[in-house]
């Protein structure tokens, strides 16, 4: 397989050490998530080459960017990566257009895959080109900074908490742009954040970093139903993140029907075209279980057929237990021990998962 980013870094400082090993797909958005001080920024700096891990290995697709065993280290300006930081770092003496072209002009003509016009269009920068950085809002600055990074035609875009300095509204304004960068330019993005809000909106693959170590990496759908990550993600977040596609809108009852692995979820009407993907988030506490389909009429609209995969250990509070289900994609359910005893659940047993609440993730 060549469509992989493989990386292994060891960095030791007196107060901090990073010992991370990763295998990531070279497409989509990979979110590096973890608390402050977990080593996220150091990891990103190692990937970009701004920091040289004394013992490191990094391979992007079939190109080796660092291999200390063989004495290989490609310096930052020769790697095809681009960086976006928390601060925009635009050059104050250059207009937006000159900022955008700074890296473009320093990219060999044959390597230029992206050009000013398309980047300006996707990031909505047309009205800003003549302006200088100090005349821009925080959100506009970040869009310009993303544009400047893209115009070096990188193979990999690295973003270090690019929205952390912005308020809620500005964040919401930028996230669609980041998505469209990934979409329209097929640009793999590694995105560092400690904001769960940003994770849910952007993530395809997730790397969880804690105290300099990779705790878990994998597709987001698996991560959000992994009971072992309760501490790291918070029990509020655990459950399932599902990719559904919009099947139809029901105007009469103001509902939208979503297709998910051959099953159906019904949610309040969404302003999303039929056929489009919609990502939903389900909390494990909003999933209850039954061993038989409901007899008679129920007010619960969403019932998914699933199989019990594993039954977790009782929670610290002693009354609830997490059960991992397989509904084509993993889903986690948190039920009381009492219910578990009543239901007499065993691994492999088919169940009906009643979904009491579904949160739409959209920007």
């Amino acid at each position: 397989m060549t469509d992989l980013l493989q990386a292994k870094f060891r960095v030791h400082y007196p107060s901090f050490s990073l010992d991370a090993e990763m295998r990531l797909p070279t497409k989509g958005v990979t979110v590096v998530f973890g608390p402050s001080g977990a080593g996220k920024t150091t990891l990103l700096r190692c990937l970009s080459g701004l920091e040289k891990a004394p013992s490191g290995f990094m391979k992007f697709a079939d190109q080796v960017w660092q291999d200390d065993a063989r004495g290989i280290f490609i310096p930052p300006h020769k790697r095809k990566t681009a960086l976006v930081f928390q601060e925009s770092r635009l050059f104050p003496h250059l207009s937006v257009q000159e900022n955008l072209l700074y890296g473009y002009r320093r990219t060999a003509p044959l390597d230029r895959n992206l050009h000013l016009d398309e980047v300006v269009q996707v990031l909505g920068l047309a009205d800003l080109l003549k302006r200088y950085p100090h005349k821009l809002s925080g959100g506009e600055k970040q869009r310009a900074a993303i544009g400047r990074a893209l115009l070096t035609s990188p193979k990999l875009l690295l973003m270090d908490e690019p929205l952390a300095a912005l308020d809620r509204q500005r964040k919401a304004e930028i996230i669609p742009f980041i998505k469209s960068v990934e979409d329209k330019f097929a640009m793999p993005i590694i995105y560092v954040t400690h904001s769960m809000h940003e994770v849910l909106q952007l993530v395809n693959t997730m790397v969880i970093l804690q105290a300099g170590k990779v705790v878990r990496q994998g597709p987001a759908q698996e991560i959000f139903s992994d009971v072992r990550l309760k501490e790291v993600l918070g029990d509020e977040q655990l459950g399932a993140v599902l990719e559904t596609s919009v099947a139809e809108h029901d105007e009469e009852f103001a509902l939208t029907r979503l297709d998910f692995m051959g099953q159906t979820l019904i949610v309040p009407k969404q302003n999303v075209a039929v056929g489009k993907t919609l990502r939903v988030h389900i909390h494990s506490k909003d999933v209850s279980l039954a061993t038989a389909p409901p007899a008679g009429v129920t007010s619960v609209l969403n019932i998914l057929r699933a199989k019990v995969k594993t039954i977790g250990a009782p929670d610290r509070d002693g009354f609830s237990v997490d059960i991992e289900l397989d509904a084509g994609r993993p889903i986690l359910a948190t039920v009381t021990r009492k219910s578990l005893a009543n239901l007499k659940l065993k691994p492999g047993q088919p169940v009906f998962a009643h979904i009491k609440a579904i949160k739409m993730i959209r920007s």
Binding site: S48, L50, P76, H77, T81, A82, L83, E87, S88, R89, L90, F91, P92, H93, Y102, G103, R106, T107, Y132, P133, H134, K141, R148, A149, T152
Partner: protein, 227 residues
């Protein structure tokens, strides 16, 4: 009353001296100030102190050692004498040499400050966009240090224009060669030609004041921070 006759030659020599000195200093001080702003070498403080010495030393001390250094038996003057047959002391070249050292802190310090306040981020950002270090210096760092360059140029120029002790000792007050404006003023006062002294002094005063006002007002308007 006779109209006072002003000899333009000292003015012309002063301007030439200040101009040449500033050009040499900007070239030398840029790498020196960059090094001072970014090195972690422990000799940094020693170099900083040496550069700042002309600020505190009496010009006569500097002038005295420069005279020894540049004279026919000095470390610099000796070889030059052998090569060219003429001494550096009491020559325009000698004046340039002495002024360069004497005005050094006025050029190095503003640049040092400018490079330090720009920090490492602009260089790192430019490099991450594909610029080499030299390219990044000219395309990003030096424009960001514009204030520093303007201050350095003007202070270096004005200070060279205003020096007296060093040029007197090293140059020796030779009319048409090393007699500069400040010495000319001294000479006019000595022979009680107050009118000429007035014109030269007031001219120098006004000129210095005007360029300082210009620099400070331009400096207020230049953006320096990364945003």
């Amino acid at each position: 009353m006779n109209f006072p006759v002003i000899d333009p030659q000292p003015i012309w020599i002063s301007l030439q001296l200040a101009g040449v000195t500033v050009l040499i200093l900007l070239t030398l001080a840029t790498p020196l100030a960059w090094w001072l702003a970014h090195t972690r070498c422990r000799f940094r403080v020693v170099v900083e102190a040496v550069v700042a010495l002309p600020l505190v030393l009496p010009p006569t001390v500097l002038g005295f050692y420069m005279l020894l250094l540049l004279g026919p038996h000095g470390w610099v003057g000796g070889p030059v004498q052998t090569l060219t047959g003429s001494s550096l002391a009491f020559s325009f070249t000698g004046l340039v040499f002495a002024s360069t050292l004497y005005s050094m802190p006025f050029v190095v310090q503003p640049l040092h400050g400018a490079f330090e306040s720009a920090g490492k981020i602009p260089m790192e950002t430019a490099q991450s966009l594909g610029a080499s270090r030299l390219d990044a210096f000219f395309s990003v760092i030096s424009p960001l240090a514009r204030r520093g360059y303007l201050t350095a140029t003007v202070l270096g120029f004005a200070h060279t224009l205003g020096e007296f002790g060093v040029v007197l000792m090293v140059g020796g007050n030779i009319p048409g060669k090393t007699k500069v404006i400040s010495i000319e003023i001294y000479d006019r006062v000595e022979v009680l030609e107050y009118a000429q002294a007035h014109i030269l002094s007031a001219g120098l005063l006004l000129f210095s004041f005007l360029i300082l006002v210009t620099v400070y007002s331009i400096n207020r308007r230049l953006p320096v921070q990364m945003v």
